[in-house]
């Protein structure tokens, strides 16, 4: 469920759609927008932006949550200035083109004709000089903390250039085509998958297994089992096997959902399965240690929660460690879950056994310690 929710929010296949507030000051005395400013807004809306028009007098939009507020202001006189500028540009192009042709033709054009052309060009240039035209500046307003503001300015500039070309009745001679190949780039959802699997196995061990063991002890079920020929090692291993099967089923379901919905890059291999088993052994062992060490079920649940929740949020399982301050990154590296999700990510997503070796070894040591501690602390006599 978490994978679906977070994957959809952060890692889905749909391209991002940016909200852009537009304040159009290019209106006539009756408040009707200029033809070209209206067309420009339409062009923006047909790009990556979702345009929200601000009427004169509307308050500055308020930010809710993490959505950045960006306001583009189209100045007064945008349409008239753009028409003039287009005419000027067309005149410049025409005059320059004719002069280039005259130059290229050389002696083929008689001197009288050449003089007549020059005189005409001077007349046209005189007309061009009478046209009031200058650079129109659109204002893009946004937060200094908005890291996407600069790229957005670039997108708006590109749209403006294309718009100007269209007004000149010219077509773009440089085009970019996107071609998809089969190489896979890791996306957010690829990052989340091993983190969620590891976090689930960790919480299941520290909270689920510890509560189960504590409840079985409180209800006398462990005593009942201890009165049979079953040994405490057998009992511990039976819980470990159940948890391992549950973990492998979880991994399969998450990979299946992730692949079907998000086309995630995860490809389970023998190494990732070994890491899953080691992680399950470690956290099941730790959970059993908590369950058999504390007398009250409430204390067991409290300890399980107080260990697992900080680990879930601080170990980098749910978001990249690089987003966290350096001192918290150091804290994360002290947490068992960090090594588990790192090893799982390296094997399952990156497919790098080499980089997975160190964290896998740490998880292996934790697994051995967890299971040995669980067996030795489980009382099978003199409860």
């Amino acid at each position: 469920m978490l994978l679906l929710v977070f994957g959809s929010i952060f890692g889905g296949p749909t391209p991002p759609n940016y909200t852009l507030y537009v304040k159009n000051l290019d209106v006539d005395h009756e408040g009707r927008p200029g033809v070209l400013s209206e067309a420009f807004i339409r062009a923006l809306n047909e790009s990556v932006f979702e345009v929200q028009l601000l009427k004169p007098g509307d308050p500055y939009p308020r930010s809710t949550g993490f959505a950045a507020i960006r306001v583009l202001t189209i100045p007064m006189g945008f349409t008239s200035n753009l028409i003039n500028a287009t005419i000027v540009n067309r005149v410049d192009i025409t005059v320059e083109t004719i002069m280039m042709m005259v130059e290229m033709a050389g002696d083929q054009i008689p001197p009288e004709a050449r003089a007549s052309i020059s005189s005409s060009m001077e007349g046209i240039n005189a007309f061009r000089g009478s046209m009031p035209a200058g650079v129109m500046t659109l204002t893009l307003e946004g937060s200094r903390d908005d890291r996407v503001l600069q790229p957005i300015e670039g997108i708006i500039n590109t749209i403006a250039s294309r718009f100007e070309l269209a007004l000149l009745n010219a077509s773009s001679t440089i085009d970019v085509k996107t071609r998809f190949n089969d190489t896979r780039q890791l996306r957010s959802v690829d990052y989340y998958l091993p983190g969620y699997v590891a976090a689930f196995i960790m919480t299941n061990g520290l909270i689920g297994v510890s509560s189960l063991v504590s409840d079985m002890r409180r209800r006398g079920i462990i005593k009942l089992l201890a009165s049979t020929p079953v040994s405490r090692t057998t009992w511990t291993m039976s819980i470990v096997i159940v948890q391992t099967v549950a973990s492998l089923i979880l991994l399969s379901v998450m990979i299946a959902v992730g692949w079907l919905v998000f086309r995630i890059a995860a490809i389970p291999d023998i190494y990732s399965i070994i890491v899953i088993i080691l992680g399950t052994l470690a956290f099941t062992g730790f959970g059993m240690v908590i369950g058999v060490s504390l007398k009250e079920v409430e204390a067991v649940t409290a300890l399980g929660n107080s260990l697992s929740f900080p680990m879930m949020f601080l170990s980098g399982a749910l978001w990249p460690l690089e987003l966290m301050p350096p001192y918290l990154q150091d804290v994360a590296r002290l947490m068992p879950l960090y090594y588990f999700h790192s090893a799982l990510r390296e094997t399952l997503i990156v497919g790098s056994v080499m980089t997975a070796t160190f964290p896998s070894l740490i998880v292996g040591v934790m697994a051995t310690a967890g299971i040995l501690l669980a067996i030795s602390l489980t009382k099978w006599r003199d409860f």
Binding site: I221, S227, P229
Partner: protein, 308 residues
């Protein structure tokens, strides 16, 4: 009969608290042996020592000659026994069948269906354990104790907390079990339960055995006389009975008890009263374990198991 359990000078201390104090008894194969005593007398401690769940501080406890303290014998002992612990619980989310199957697999046995049928649980084998009544839950506990065909079954307070109907039902299953030849070691604080079910009983108070032996013999030797309780007997009749050597004691203003040794004396007492033109129909109270307990310990045990 062979001795299947031998307990000799068994002592168990929890810190400074002496829970079991120099206890000795034997249990014979095929009998129902009861440890009768109030709460905190040390019954469960003794049972758990015999189940290899507790280590005795000193003394010896042998199951079929194997010492419960010897780690090399523990697994063999556990294969011989079935256990219904005090305040029995099984796994709530599992069905009746699954719980009994769990116990069967723990003992390496497969006779789940036979046991469920014998205990009348087959029809409800798919019911979740959590949905069962207290009596049925206890019956599932007996089934879990019986899988694996144990030679000795320990039933620790098997009817505590059950309503009278469920209690009688449980007794009938214990009687059936007795007929199958299994040795039953029962702990209880219910006098009636011990008396109805046991061949032999050991009365335990504050960690010590106060009396032990065949139930009928204990009652006949220590239970005192049969009591005839009359309403409005009158002083003239009382004097006449005293004159014939009977113990006559007023209990309340209008109730009088006359103690007799056997049935023939009952008829003699009635005949004496008829001779005085008194037609009396007494309540007859035969002596039981409660009387034995009262006589030996000087107290009674309440319904909740406390010494009063």
């Amino acid at each position: 009969m062979n001795e299947i359990i031998v307990v000799d000078k068994l002592t168990k201390k929890y810190g400074d608290f002496l829970a079991v104090n120099n206890v000795s008894f034997i249990v014979k194969q095929g009998e129902v042996f009861s440890l009768l005593g109030p709460n905190g007398a040390g019954k469960t401690t003794i049972v758990e020592i015999l189940e290899c769940l507790r280590t005795p501080t000193s003394g010896v406890a042998l199951i079929k000659g194997m010492n419960v303290k010897d780690p090399s014998e523990v697994k063999r002992i556990k294969r011989l026994i079935g256990v219904l612990p005090q305040e029995f619980n099984a796994i709530d989310n599992l069905t009746v069948y699954e719980n009994v199957e769990l116990a069967a697999s723990a003992k390496g046995s497969r006779n789940v269906k036979d046991i469920l049928e014998a205990l009348g649980l087959w029809e409800m084998r798919k019911s979740a354990f959590s949905k069962l009544s207290g009596g049925l839950k206890r019956r599932v506990g007996i089934a879990m104790a019986l899988v694996g065909d144990p030679e000795i079954v320990f039933l620790d307070e098997p009817t505590t907390g059950l309503d009278p109907e469920a209690r009688r039902e449980t007794w009938s299953y214990i009687r059936k079990l007795k007929k199958s030849g299994v040795t039953i070691f029962l702990t209880t604080h219910y006098m009636e339960e011990a008396e109805r079910l046991s061949d032999r009983v050991a009365i335990i108070v504050r960690g010590r055995i106060a009396a032990e032996g065949d139930v009928r013999r204990l009652v006949s030797e220590q239970g005192g006389k049969t009591r005839l309780i009359f309403e409005d007997l009158g002083e003239r009749a009382a004097e006449a009975l005293r004159g014939k050597g009977y113990e006559v004691e007023p209990i309340t203003d209008d109730r009088t008890v006359v103690k007799v040794s056997d049935k023939s004396e009952v008829f003699e007492v009635l005949s004496i009263l008829r001779g005085l033109s008194i037609d009396a129909y007494p309540e007859i109270h035969h002596p039981g374990l409660e009387d034995v307990f009262l006589r030996i310990v000087g107290s009674k045990i309440s319904e909740r198991g406390e010494l009063i």
